[in-house]
Subunit: 205 residues, 4 copies
Amino acid sequence: MARIPKKDRDELLQETRLKLLDAAALEFASKGYSSANINHISETAGYSKGTVYNYFPSKQALMLALIEDAGARHVHYIADAVLQIKAPVERLERFFAAGFRFVEEHTTRARFLITALYSPGEEIQLAMAHAYQPMFQLVAREIITPGIEQGLFRQANPQEIANLMMTLYLGTCSNVDRSGKAYFDPLRVADFALHALRQPDAKPD
Amino acid sequence: MARIPKKDRDELLQETRLKLLDAAALEFASKGYSSANINHISETAGYSKGTVYNYFPSKQALMLALIEDAGARHVHYIADAVLQIKAPVERLERFFAAGFRFVEEHTTRARFLITALYSPGEEIQLAMAHAYQPMFQLVAREIITPGIEQGLFRQANPQEIANLMMTLYLGTCSNVDRSGKAYFDPLRVADFALHALRQPDAKPD
Amino acid sequence: MARIPKKDRDELLQETRLKLLDAAALEFASKGYSSANINHISETAGYSKGTVYNYFPSKQALMLALIEDAGARHVHYIADAVLQIKAPVERLERFFAAGFRFVEEHTTRARFLITALYSPGEEIQLAMAHAYQPMFQLVAREIITPGIEQGLFRQANPQEIANLMMTLYLGTCSNVDRSGKAYFDPLRVADFALHALRQPDAKPD
Amino acid sequence: MARIPKKDRDELLQETRLKLLDAAALEFASKGYSSANINHISETAGYSKGTVYNYFPSKQALMLALIEDAGARHVHYIADAVLQIKAPVERLERFFAAGFRFVEEHTTRARFLITALYSPGEEIQLAMAHAYQPMFQLVAREIITPGIEQGLFRQANPQEIANLMMTLYLGTCSNVDRSGKAYFDPLRVADFALHALRQPDAKPD
DNA sequence: CATGAATGAGGATTCATTCAT
DNA sequence: TATGAATGAATCCTCATTCAT
């Protein structure tokens, strides 16, 4: 009945939602979940307190929605880069390269995800596990397993190695100085990983 | 007037302080810094709220004291194991082995340290950096540098490699299932690291 | 410009207003005034929040309008039944009978009125007093006074007895079990009242 | 270990608790449960917000504790008066007399109870039913039943009559003017009730 | 006329901290 | 030294109300 310009409505809603998620990522990343302040979030986003609650039923629901949003972006960003080529070794390099690039390009979301990774609370941990499941699968099935099958990587449990790669990635990319600049070079980290995975008798390139 | 047997005084004080630190480690580890509750801590320790403030001037001071305490234990525990032998390769193996053993034997303190590592707050981060400085030095000066000098490890920046080793250790040892059991085997992690560090033309063992 | 069939306009408005009042009665009756939620009311009525404010300027105004509406219905319902006959004794019986029937037939409105009777707030109490004034007058002037004058009821202050009758009615008809069924039988309550009012030397029926 | 004057401790605690209950009764009685403000309560009692929560875990718990406290006082006050004599007729007179006196002497508690009687919320209603159970029993077993057995009151279901007496009492005693003065005279109400209960052929006094 | 996004005052509750005993 | 009653700032969340479409 309202004569609202039809679809613009939804776009506007999504835009507001996005601003809130952006502001929330910033706040959660810098303060942590418990110290984050809903009021700061809404004001950073350019709205008032109540608006947050028009979009998310609670602080925790906001956190979970943000985990889903940021997690999906992270996974897609890396998967897009990794799946463009076939060779496992290059895929692993791309995994680290894209991973570090994500941190540079989406610093706030990335810092939020690191924060969330170590935030206490069962529901948060479950949401993180769920959000990162596809990335584990990507590394295990699309990089490590083919690499082992093609004789490029030494024999090992792909799940375990995938977990190790994820640990290495998440650990290194969260090593940033005060200004946010990464301590590690993704190429060096990939190089480190490749040294660790290659066949002992494989010729060095 | 005090009929306390003279020096036992200090022992008693230290004992109380230790109980409080133990309880605090448990609370901080499971709830995180901001959600931790001073009252829970004092009650877990068997005292009342006020007692905490007789030993530590504030919640943050308690946190910082605990970082110092737990960090020092962690460093000494690992240093003791590592420095008992000379060979860099074995020292690296011992680094991971002792590191994982520390998590098993001092689970609460270890889980606290992981929590602290990712707790927001400048002062906390400074305290952590300060507490772990010796461990970085240990790895860099006593393991990586000799290893490179002796031609056992490939050429690389020892500081960077040490940082990578720390990242690998802290990342893997914080991978525990719900029951607290470690996901990774320290030998496998050490093996992984050694593969990554050895000279490309070194003979496999 | 409006292509609405002329007078149907008003009917539509009245229909909407009625739906809103019905929904409001339900909400106020079950939650009480302060806990009632305007949004619930509008949704129960099949409209959105804003619509309530197109019909009533505020929550309190809605409450007051509802008191007027429900009070008038209550009074008319009982007055209609009472005034159909002349004899004071039978009028008193009809008072209770119709009163209880009103609760059965207009449960929501009746439960709302009971709620309103004990809702704090000066304006609400004034509106209730105003709405029930006619019922007090009905009982005093049309039942008790004639009954006393005709020697059927013992001598007493008609205003006080009317108040007592109202108290008895409102008290007993609000005695309902969980399912909403009345605890008291109107005939028994009327009987009780008649016993109390009759002349000491009057012959029992 | 604290050298607190031993039992004075408990007295002090009880005193504070009592002040809080008094202030709460006042606030709940005048505003109703939902509109009552914990902050007002604490300040009226001479304490700050937090103190309320040192004594009662929540607003609802405070309400329930107050129902228990005020209900018990109400019941004991009336029971004490009623049970001092034996004759059912005089007991009924005392029931109303003491009931009205309670309202005069403990106005705040009494007004609170009337408020609670009509407050929405399952838990509150359950607590009220539980608190008033003994008063129902008192009226049914100690007044109505003996009165019927001794042929003083007409045959009727004692439970139902007891309920009617309670309804009459609660309804009339809550009829107060703006200044808090009772509209009804307890003797007149008792008289009304006795007229309604006596044997039709009993001689009037 | 109907809608529902935005607002922000209001209120329950938590909890670090103080301090008298 | 240990205690725990009292404090009040901080913060999540609710919801009546406004108003642009």
